[in-house]
Symmetry: C2
Subunit: 428 residues, 2 copies
């Protein structure tokens, strides 16, 4: 058997303790599977004295993550601190520069600084691995870079924020408003300290940026993502979409178009019979499409102690086995800049509006849609409520530009109360 693989673990929150638990519980199993003993040299967290439910006194301790990252008795620096700046970044850089391999669960760090970190890791010939950063326990990084390596990818999609999917699912099952369910989720501790990371789509967009790079051989480009959260999704839209056979999901889509790489993280409608449509609650799902495979769907827990720690251990064990590939699937210097697509490919859209109770109102709306080149696939007008009537329209495939023109013209008709809601319908 080879030398033991010695870890330094920085960050003893849920995930860090989960990793510790697996290593303690499955020491023999891991050694048998990897051919090496996996041991912990030292730990680092803010407060050593805090009771974390696991005895820590057998391990070394550092109060400074950089000191841990550069210890002589650490082969792999496991960064579970989080955050795209500050101690996590400094310590990861120190570890790589000192010739350590790095495993991290830090999606923000990779999404913002992935390119420079990949260059640093490859310059020093070290591994920088992050299976836990995307979709928690689902082995999606490995699927893209190894299991489906023979494919040219065309599209990668995913529901990758369990909190948002929980909120949308709960709104549907309860009929309660966004604000009510948001408060419920917050009360249950399902949201980040800064809930914008969740409901604003930022956390999910970090993950999407990483998947895009892996799928399309491009530099991580978080700023290139068209980003919209779930805050404007109303219970009316969830109900109306269900009526038309759809679910609303915060869906990340990365797609190769003739005009660059498109990255979108936004609420979309998907058919309620599709795997994405059937994904309820906090579970994550990633859909990968490639020229040979067709479509593969991966579903599993996107967060939590066990699942995230499971993904961290996958990386640790790969390193134990000597696997050490480029950080983003291709050598960092071969990754192309990810020029954002100038426009989204055409798609059907869902429109919901309130029409004034006037003769000819619907005709006016249909006319401006037609004039903008947006054709109607399905339309439903419901009974009048006070002085207006809810109208749902599913369009045929149209460009976002044509749709925007139609919506602008619609405002000029003076028969629409307020602003229409427009949501993309993603073919899945």
């Amino acid at each position: 058997m080879s030398q033991p693989l010695r870890l330094g673990i920085a960050g003893l929150g849920t995930v860090g303790i989960g990793v510790l638990r697996i290593i303690r519980k499955h020491a023999d199993l891991l050694a048998a599977r990897t051919g090496r003993e996996i041991v912990i040299s030292a730990l680092c967290a803010r407060d050593r004295s805090k009771d974390r439910g696991v005895p820590l006194d057998r391990y070394g301790w550092e109060s400074d993550p950089v000191a841990l990252a550069t210890r002589d008795d650490v082969d792999v620096f496991v960064e579970l601190i989080g955050g795209d700046e500050g101690p996590a970044k400094v310590a990861v850089e120190a570890a790589l520069a000192t010739g350590k391999d790095v495993v991290t669960a830090n999606k923000a760090l990779l999404a913002i600084h992935g390119q420079s970190l990949a260059e640093l890791a490859e310059k020093h010939g070290r591994a920088l691995r992050y299976e836990a950063a995307v979709a928690g326990g689902i082995p999606v990084i490995k699927a893209l870079t190894e299991g489906l390596v023979g494919n040219q990818f065309s599209r990668v999609m995913g529901v990758m924020n369990g909190s948002c999917n929980y909120i949308l699912t709960r709104m549907e099952t309860s009929g309660l408003s966004y604000a009510e369910i948001f408060a419920e989720a917050d009360g249950l501790g399902y949201l980040e300290a800064d809930p914008q990371l969740d409901v604003g789509g930022i956390d999910a967009a970090h993950k999407l940026a990483i998947l895009t790079s892996l799928a399309f051989g491009t530099q991580v480009n978080f700023d290139g993502i068209v980003l919209e959260g779930i805050e404007r999704i109303s219970i009316d839209d969830i109900t109306a979409a269900a009526d038309m056979g759809y679910k609303i999901k915060l869906l990340g889509v990365a797609q190769k178009t003739g005009r660059g790489i498109e990255q979108r993280m936004q609420p979309c409608l998907v058919p309620d019979t599709s795997p994405l449509g059937q994904l309820d609650g906090g579970t994550n799902m990633v859909v990968i499409e490639g020229d040979s495979i067709g479509q593969v769907v991966l579903r599993g827990p996107g967060a939590g102690e066990g699942p995230t720690a499971s993904a961290v251990m996958a990386d640790v064990c790969d390193i134990a086995r000597g696997m050490r590939g480029p950080v983003f699937g291709l050598p960092a210097n071969q990754l192309a800049p990810a020029a954002p697509a100038s426009s989204s490919p055409p798609a059907p859209y869902y429109l919901r509006m309130a029409l004034d109770d006037k003769p000819g109102a619907l005709a006016k709306v249909a006319k401006v849609l037609g004039e903008a080149g947006v054709s109607i696939d399905r339309m439903r007008q419901y009974g009048h409520q006070d002085t207006s009537a809810p109208v749902l329209i599913v369009t045929h495939k149209t460009t976002p530009e044509a749709l925007a023109a139609a919506l602008e013209a619609m405002a000029g008709t003076n028969v629409v109360t307020g602003s229409p809601v427009a949501l993309r319908i993603e073919a899945v």
Copy 2:
């Protein structure tokens, strides 16, 4: 860049040609991703002159697979001949003994001779890889051995024969009989030359045997599988199951019990709202359960040129990158014998029977069930047809032994026409 990796491909059916196509189409992409050029030294098939839609004259040719497997200019022998005996086995053994790595899509070979081949491969320090052998393009071998390596697995389940799932789905949507849909599938070329491999569950059981070994660290034990095909599934059962909220699937289940490793490949009921229940048509699905991950579900195409070739290329690229682990996740000499479980864990069962139109008939059935310790969760009696009435029963969890006793006693009541149908309901 390292030396090119040189392949010898034996078998030029659908999958072989698919592999050839990927290597030709994506030569640059594969080289960039693996850091090595992947080239084909020579091919082998029965008939060199056959038009396969791809020009083959640039490659060397062998008419004997063993000659191909042992050529000096072959680093990796790609076995796509099939069959658990004969040329495939002989050539794989010859390749390993000559120090070649081997990639195969041959589930039968691995399920029957996996242990001896693993020993041979590890003795010679070679890779023997077979991602394509289980669930086609879905990277499930990699998920079990790498992506989820930190888990102790409790259960692995899967719908792994697309033809059977197609037949069951089509029966449901068409309302036609098993015989009619079997003929349809056969006419469409969906079935193996020996359809028993499909509808008898043998092909799926080969795959299950491999997954069991990987999940539980045991020697492949195909003979330890409790095996039953879909031939006895009637349209009446499909309709009745749907009525009760279930779908019928040919489901493989490998489970660790207190009394050994249980392996079953048999028609089961699963909730129609579960991912397995929602799997229609020829798609495959594998569900993996582990102590840290909870549950992960992988869904994708289980057969066909592109998907299977995609999986073969995953193995080839892993070898190109120098990955070379034990064949079944643990060194072959550490794999434990897979003693078959002496009994299945308790489960709810679905029973369908025709009750004679006699007073007290239902009471008699309820009585024998109760006396055998089988309690009823839900029961439905339908209107009489001629002289008997269809009755559906969903039991609470019960042991297979108690159920068998109840069924035997039921036969003695003289109120049941014919034999009751009993199918296990798998919790998913």
